[in-house]
């Protein structure tokens, strides 16, 4: 084993299972973890084929059935499970499907990790700041100990709250497992597609008339690093993941070099959101309140655990602005990846191929991979 490892009492990840490998976060995380020599096995499960090229991650196509996942976990002697499946955008996934994935899926993954015979010693759950909700009488900065002031009003928020509740339940019933919950703020970046990145790519950025909410972002690379940090070090507990700095929406629009369009009415915004969605302006329900009241979360706890952010909220927005300007020129250059099982099997299993080298010189590569491949 290498000299570099987590605190002695912890359970540094050796054999990792990533759920939601086909999702953006699952794929990015698997790529990042492949560079760590001390991680000897990475298994990714999903219902769909991976969307990113992976060198040594083993992909298993499996539905969210807990008995199957449990068998994989035990057979591969998985010590760390990283759950990246959470869907936080109601416009990309149907309501039922999102519920199935967020609530039932989480329950099944947790069930697969529990039980006396389970080898799992660490469980990392990528959650969302949606768990705090977004209301008029909220504090300006949520800390991890605060709970939401009102019952969740949108389907996604309900899902996130339920999913986290089952994770907390798991943590209390399995005290020998280190459970880390990462509540991510709104993500922006050149590669990831989020409701905010969609909105900011419009020529006119819609605002609710009379409101200038405070918004906080986190760079996509920082989210991957945050998950990686949780895998390698021992950081049990709940943590907010958000970049330094809270920006006003007008400030964000200025940084993007766009024009604000205060078109959404202050009252009845929700009623208008439906017709707007059919016109192509896809503002998800869970974002509407954010466009009025905004949300800030306190990121100091994760920083205190030794994590450092690469970008502030402002830098995240400016880098996204650069991407938006370059996008028309770079479009299509990066190429796309299609998973082909036969090819992957050949590359991993055939005696003709060189074994993939988890070399140390690959490590620096994880820092800067703007196009994923």
């Amino acid at each position: 084993m290498s000299e570099i490892e987590g605190p002695p009492q912890g359970h540094p990840a050796r054999r990792v299972l990533i759920t939601g490998l086909a999702s953006y976060w699952g794929g990015r995380l698997a790529q990042a973890l492949e560079a760590f020599a001390e991680i000897e096995a990475i298994v990714g499960v999903d219902t769909r084929d991976p969307t990113r090229e992976l060198e040594r991650t083993e992909y298993v196509k499996v539905s969210n059935q807990h008995s199957l996942i449990a068998r994989i976990v035990r057979a591969a002697r998985i010590d760390t499970v990283i759950d990246t499946r959470l869907v936080v955008d109601s416009t990309t996934t149907g309501r039922r499907q999102a519920h199935e994935n967020n609530v039932i899926g989480t329950m099944n993954v947790l069930a697969a990790c529990s039980g006396p015979s389970s080898p799992v010693r660490k469980f990392i759950f990528k959650s969302s700041a949606h768990v705090y909700g977004c209301e008029q009488d909220d504090p300006a900065f949520f800390t991890e100990g605060m709970s939401r002031s009102h019952r969740p009003s949108t389907a996604i928020e309900r899902d996130v709250v339920e999913a986290e509740a089952s994770v907390v339940d798991f943590a209390t019933k399995q005290p020998e497992v280190d459970v880390t919950v990462l509540r991510c703020a709104n993500v922006l970046g050149p590669d990831v597609q989020t409701a905010f990145s969609r909105m900011f790519s419009l020529p006119l950025v819609p605002m609710v008339l009379g409101f200038d909410p405070r918004l906080q972002f986190v760079h996509e690379d920082d989210v991957v690093h945050a998950l990686e940090h949780a895998a390698i070090s021992r950081v049990p507990g709940v943590y907010n993941v958000a970049a330094d700095g809270v920006l006003a929406l007008s400030e964000v629009i200025g940084l993007l070099g766009k024009r604000p369009a205060p078109l959404l009415p202050p009252w009845g915004t929700g009623l208008l959101a439906g017709p707007l969605r059919s016109l192509g302006l896809r503002i998800p329900d869970e974002m509407l309140n954010q466009l009025r009241f905004g949300r800030g979360i306190d990121n100091r706890r994760y920083k205190a655990s030794g994590f450092e952010y690469g970008a502030t909220s402002r830098e995240t927005v400016t880098s996204y602005a650069e991407h938006l300007r370059l996008h028309p020129i770079l479009r299509g250059i990066e190429g796309s990846y299609t998973y082909e099982g036969e090819v992957e099997r050949f590359l991993r299993r055939s005696p003709l191929t060189r074994p993939p080298s988890p070399a140390a010189d690959d490590r620096s590569g994880t820092e800067k991979e703007p196009f994923g491949i």
Partner: protein, 305 residues
């Protein structure tokens, strides 16, 4: 300790001294450590993390506030040196009037008269955050929703000046016939906030605000119909429309900052002692009421002072 970007760096030193009797000391050092982790100020930005804009504030300060402070209310300030030049401090003031001008005048007094002026954060009702227009403007000029967590962060972590009106709506709904009768001070939450943040409490008396925006009556019906917090009947509101809210009479303003109360000398966990909290709250209220009586007693004219 130096935070790190990825997990490739050496392990984080965990705190082995967590056990034993040093728990309280550790708690304090832990809090100091958390304070050090606050986001750094980015010089390129025009707004801070609370949404406060120096630019907007400057414009307001140079025009509207300057006019009211210097020429309309002719503010006179006593004891501004009682506002600490550093560290968190919670200013507690009496409150009155339809759209109270007192907060802006106190902020201006500190900015203009204090030897080491500092920005003042004014706590306002959550209501305004949900009201278009106000929601955009108020944070820019230094208003913060009155949430205990906000007050704590400002006082303890950021060591700022915060102004609270413990009377809250009971103060602004007060009619002219009840002027200078300080209403009940909520549940003493402001004292608890100051104690938790180890901040000083500075009582402030404002004379003049009650006559500048006299409320003759409150209309319950109109309040319900408009959905406003309250619907006051003043000399100019609602007769002149929303702008009538700013139709202040030219009363003479006197602002007196009283001696600060140090909450750090009240034991280790004073905020847990409800009796102490209540008696400190009573004490602050009594001092403000006493100051008001003295100032109103000495005043010869409402308009000339």
């Amino acid at each position: 300790m130096a935070p790190r970007r990825t997990s490739l760096a050496p392990p984080v030193p965990s705190s082995p001294e967590a056990e034993g009797n040093a728990e309280l000391a550790l708690d304090v050092s832990e809090r100091e450590r958390m304070r050090a982790l606050l986001p750094a100020v980015e010089p390129d930005r025009q707004l801070n993390d609370w949404g406060r804009s120096e630019r907007v504030e400057r414009v307001f300060d140079a025009t509207l506030v300057e006019f009211f402070y210097r020429y309309w209310f002719r503010c006179e300030v006593e004891g501004v040196e009682n506002v600490p030049a550093e560290g968190g401090a919670l200013l507690v003031s009496n409150h009155s009037g339809a759209l109270p001008p007192d907060a802006a005048m106190i902020g201006k007094a500190i900015r203009d008269e204090h030897p080491d002026p500092r920005p003042l954060y004014m706590t306002v009702e959550h209501f305004f955050k949900g009201y278009p227009g106000f929601s955009t403007l108020l944070p820019k000029i230094g208003c913060v929703p009155a949430h205990p967590a906000n007050v704590h962060r400002l006082l303890f972590d950021e060591r700022q000046l915060v102004l609270v009106f413990p009377e809250g709506r009971k103060g602004t709904e007060k009619l002219i016939k009840d002027r200078y009768r300080v209403q009940r001070f909520g549940r003493g939450g402001f004292v608890e906030a100051a104690m938790r943040a180890q901040a000083q409490l500075v009582p402030v008396c404002v004379v003049g605000a009650e006559e500048a925006a006299p409320v003759f009556a409150q209309s319950k019906l109109m309040q319900r119909l408009t959905g406003l917090l309250y619907f006051p009947i003043t000399p100019t509101f609602p007769w002149l429309g929303p702008a009538g809210m700013l139709g202040y009479l030219p009363a003479k303003f006197r602002i007196r900052f009283l001696d600060p109360i140090d909450t750090t000398r009240m034991g280790s966990e004073p905020a847990e002692d409800k009796a102490l909290v209540q008696s400190v709250a009573q004490e602050v209220r009594a001092r403000i009421q006493e100051g008001l009586h003295e100032m109103v007693g000495k005043r010869k004219s409402v308009w000339l002072g």
